[in-house]
Every structure is written in structure tokens, then in C-alpha cells.
Symmetry: C2
Subunit: 341 residues, 2 copies
């Protein structure tokens, strides 16, 4: 749709703007990128690109700046024509930093997000495996004071989740042991989703096992097994916030608010987890006005079609997409491998 030279010029403008967030002028392009034509020609082509919506001018007689649409065209070409592997050094650092904490999921994903951030200078986000697609290992139920018990859930992936649940004060520790033993013996090895759906079907017929506890068992099991999303770890907000792209306070405030808003983050992550592979959401392509000046490069990870979680980078629309995409792709593959054992 765009002829080769026009494309090249678009990419040159984007390249320049990514490295240095100042409007790019025709003379600059002529000098820095060797197209073998004069600035006047470049000028005409840039005018064409503006007409097509790929570039825009902040004001008459400033240089040009890529639009969301411009970035989109660029990113699509990266995604279609393939992108390079992540820098060897970065890849090695990444792997070595994670070697020793494989078994502590909290530490592991905190580190993944920190590494994503540090390696890219954007904000790194890593979602721990979603509990409901994880594999049930066992639960422990422990009587606490008065009406509450503590439930601790373990999964094969290494997730450990505890929560406090209100129960009938007449439940004894023995009762609780029966509840947990039943689950631990009969359901270990299934995904938590499967446990849930099977459990509530079977309980009716297994009445004998739990007899008088049955009614209350329903409630307790339900609470223990209901988890919404995997824990989300973020790192590097400050790096993004202090970029020149967000130089004024109102913008900083806006973005900070959106990022801290669990609701918004969950919605974004949820929409990402609907699709496989690396995804790029540029500027206003996402539904939240507050993040209209940000781009998100994200991917799910997980084995054999079972999406376990999401990792992402958030930066300004003026992002080094090529590097970000390679990085997200690499990290997502690592996680997938790691959690397929």
C-alpha cells in the first residue's frame, strides 16, 4: 500500500522520534538517513504521510511526529516480517537471575517483573499463574479463634494461597481434617477448575463421606477454591513516569492512577489473555483514556493451549517496539518452558 521509499521514510521518522522525542524535520531526515534525495522531496513525501494519517505536526512548521496509526503500521510490519531474537547478553542475565528462585513463586514473579523493567526501562508486569488453571496439590484447614479458620492451598506450580474463612463455630479441627483429607485424596493432580466442577457434581453422591458436614462443606469448598486472577507484579513505574513524554504533572497523575487501579489493570490483562502470542496495544487502541499515551506490549504464557498468565511491558507510545517485542516474546517462552516442567 505504501511504496518502498515512503515506508522507509516513515520508519526513519519513527526511528528518530523513538530515540529522541522531538518532531522530526525533513532536513534532519535527509541528513541522518541517506535516501539520496533532497529535503524538498522528503518534505513532499512526509506531507503525503501526514495526509494518510501516519504522521502529524504538533503545529505548523514544527517537524513531524508519528501518530498511533503510524506506529501501528510499523509494528504490524515487525510482527509480520518477523523480529530478531533478544540480545544474547540480556537473555543470559535474565535466565541466570531466575535460576535460584524457581521454587518461590512470589519471589520468582516479582523478579520477572523487575527484570522486564530493568532490561527495557519500561514498566514490567508479570502475572503469576492463574490459580484456577493450576494443578491442585493439597489444602490445609486450620481452626483459628472463634468463627474463623485458615485455609492454605498448594498447587503443583508452587502457588501457595491462604485465606481466612468464617465458619460455623461448631466445626472442630477433626471436621476440618475430614474436609481437607477428602479433597487431598480424591482430587490431587486435577486443575482447580476441574476440581471445582467435579467436586460439586460428586459431592451429592459422596454424601456418605461427609454426611452431616455436607451443607457447610459446600460453602467452605467454594470459598477455598474461588480465586479470580493470578497475582500481578509490577515494577518500574517511576521509569515510565519520568520519561519526557509525560513531563507534566497532570499526565503523571493520570497514568499513576490508572496503573494503580486494580480494576483497570485486571481488565487489560484479561483482554490480553484472550489471545495467543505477542500483542501490541498502541495508544488509544486501549479503552482507557488515562493510558491513551501509553503502549502495551504483552503476551500470554503457558503450555499446550492452557494460558497460565500474562506478562507485559508498558511504556510511552514512543516505545522501542522492536526490542520490547523481542523481550516479551523471549520471556513468555521462558515462562512457558519453565512451567511445563
Amino acid at each position: 500500500m505504501l511504496d518502498e521509499r515512503t515506508k522507509k521514510i516513515l520508519y526513519a521518522v519513527i526511528h528518530s522520534y523513538i530515540n529522541n522525542p522531538e518532531p522530526v524535520g525533513s532536513r534532519y531526515v535527509t541528513k541522518k538517513y541517506d535516501f539520496g534525495v533532497s529535503s524538498a522531496t522528503i518534505r513532499n513525501i512526509m506531507a503525503d504521510l501526514e495526509e494518510l494519517g501516519f504522521l502529524t505536526q504538533p503545529h505548523t512548521s514544527a517537524g513531524r511526529v508519528p501518530t498511533d496509526r503510524g506506529y501501528r503500521y510499523f509494528v504490524d510490519s515487525i510482527l509480520k516480517e518477523g523480529y530478531g531474537h533478544l540480545d544474547e547478553d540480556l537473555a543470559t542475565t535474565f535466565l541466570s537471575r531466575l535460576q535460584n528462585i524457581r521454587d518461590d513463586i512470589d519471589a520468582y514473579f516479582a523478579e520477572v517483573s523487575a527484570l522486564l523493567s530493568r532490561m527495557s526501562n519500561y514498566m514490567g508486569i508479570a502475572q503469576a499463574p492463574k490459580p484456577d488453571v493450576s494443578t491442585f496439590k493439597r489444602i490445609e484447614l486450620i481452626r483459628y479463634r472463634g468463627e474463623s479458620i485458615a485455609a492454605v492451598l498448594f498447587t503443583n506450580e508452587g502457588l501457595i494461597k491462604h485465606r481466612v474463612i468464617q465458619v460455623d463455630p461448631l466445626f472442630t479441627q477433626k471436621d476440618l481434617n475430614r474436609l481437607s483429607d477428602y479433597l487431598n485424596k480424591e482430587y490431587a493432580g486435577l486443575s482447580i477448575d476441574e476440581v471445582k466442577s467435579l467436586l460439586f457434581k460428586r459431592l451429592r453422591f459422596d454424601k456418605v463421606v461427609l454426611d452431616r458436614l455436607l451443607d457447610k462443606a459446600f460453602k467452605i469448598y467454594e470459598q477455598i477454591l474461588s480465586f479470580s486472577e493470578g497475582e500481578i507484579y509490577m515494577e518500574g513505574l517511576l521509569d515510565v513516569l519520568t520519561l519526557p513524554d509525560f513531563a507534566d504533572i497532570s499526565k503523571i497523575k493520570q497514568i499513576y492512577k490508572a496503573i494503580k487501579d486494580k480494576h483497570i489493570m485486571l481488565k487489560i490483562i484479561d483482554s490480553i489473555s484472550k489471545t495467543d502470542g505477542v500483542q501490541v496495544i498502541i495508544g488509544r487502541e486501549n479503552e482507557f483514556e488515562e493510558l491513551s499515551r501509553c503502549s502495551i506490549v504483552a503476551s500470554t504464557y503457558g503450555h499446550s493451549g492452557k494460558k497460565m498468565g500474562v506478562i507485559a511491558l508498558i511504556g510511552p507510545t514512543r516505545m522501542d517496539y522492536s526490542k520490547a517485542i523481542s523481550m516479551v516474546d523471549f520471556v513468555s517462552n521462558c515462562l512457558t518452558k519453565t512451567f511445563s516442567e
Copy 2:
């Protein structure tokens, strides 16, 4: 040391500046606060206050602004002459919002920090009870994959802590059960500090109980029982950051960095927990340059001389100290009561 009228004028300037962060002029004081003297007199007294280091001028011929020392004088008088109770409405809101989550420590302290912040519009900080002064209830040890086990620690206060520990792969679940049974039976009800010191003394003599496990038991127990500080919950950073006091980005960045720095926060909290009662740290009185424009109103909570944790408000030095002090005092008393059962 200051005569009554001079004091009143100092307080008037502080009062005005707290409500509106603009240098306070003599004419303004004359008009808004009725001292029955002319602006010239006020002017002279303000000049005296400046000489004494309680006020300062941003530049010749601007009004005056309180110095850290001015605030200190003001705060000391509040602390000495007593301060009012927290606003009835706020107190009721506070108590009612916490009623239903008493049993879930995480949720509880997250809510405490959120309430502190929302009620004051400053940053609220709440530290959950320190594990080492909490009362040991029980542990569970669970074999995980390969060389790691999960340890879950429960305290009477409602703390639940889990961690993953590397152990000799030859340890069976039965071995682990013996380790946990021993602890659960012999040490329940003691503080974790006591458990630690007793345990390592006694283990030598109780050899029989753990026999061949002894060596490794040492290591495992040590890891399970070693916790540094209580979890710290913070809320409302944005409220503080968007105050006019920190209007430029470099200040925002500085403060953000300091607040997010676990190291700094721990050091501050640690120094607070050395003293009883409400403490106020004003501006440069704290050791961190980054927080030199902030004040901290803090208190420990806990029963009978055993300090369990710290709560605090962080705001600009231009803080409503009176309100902040009442609030921190109130909340600290609530927590103390709650955790004395």
C-alpha cells in the same frame, strides 16, 4: 520563652500557611486574626520570629513561611498541652470499616492504611504485627517438588506466613511431620522470639525426639522462624505527591523513590518503634534528604510494653499536625485494644 502574643502570632502564621501554602504577610495576619494591633506591630514581631528561626522569608518582601523549627515549637506545644480527640464521625467510620475483617490480617492492615490515608488526605502507613513478638500457634511443613518444602506459620494474632525452603531431598513428609509436631506441641503459646531462644537451647537435650534429624532440623527451624519485620502497608502516595508543596517533577521523583525504597522505610519505621507514644518527625529532622520536605506523624501500637508495630502518616511539613496527631493517637489505641483481645 516566647511571650503569649508572639506565640499566638506564630501559630496564626502556621495556621494560615497550613490552610493555604502561600507566604503570610503582616497585613493578612492583622486582618484575619484579631490581635487588636496594627500591621506594623505584627510586622515587628514577625521580624523577631524570623530572627529566632521560627519563620523565614522565601525572598525579601514576600510574606513569611514557618521553618521546621517553627513547626517543632508548635507541635511541642500541642503534644505538651494535650490535643483533642479525633472527630467523632471519623472515629465511627474508622471502627465500622474494620469490624468485619478482624480475622484477616492482610486485609485488616491494608484497610487501616487506606483509612488513615482517606481520613487525613496524607499517606497512611500501617505495619502488621511483627512476627517475632507474635504468639506462636503452629506450623505446617509440606513436601514440595525436589528439594523444597513449604512452611506455613500461624500466630495467635492471625498472621499467616508461608515460605519455601530448600532441604535435603531425603527428608520425607513423615520427617517433616515430626519436626512440625514437635514444635506445635511443645512451643504453642510462646512468642516467636521465645520459641527461637528456647528451642535452640533445648534441642540439644531433646535429641531423643528428633535423633538423626537434629542437624538438619536446626537449619529448617531457623529459616522458618526468622522474620525481620511486620508487613508494611501504604496507601495514598498520590494524594501527597500531587500536593502543591511538591509541584515540580524532580521533587515528586525524589519522594516517590524514597517511599518505594524498602530500605529507607524500614529504617524509619525501625527508629519509630524505639519510642512509645505519638512521635512527630518534622522535615529535616529525619535523616533522609529525600524526605526533607515531609513530616511523619507516627506511633507504635501494642499491649503492655510489647510494641507490635507502627502506624504513621506522611505528609508535607505543612501538615495539619493537630488533626494528624489525634488521628494517629486514636488509631494506635484502637489497634492496641484490638490486639490485646
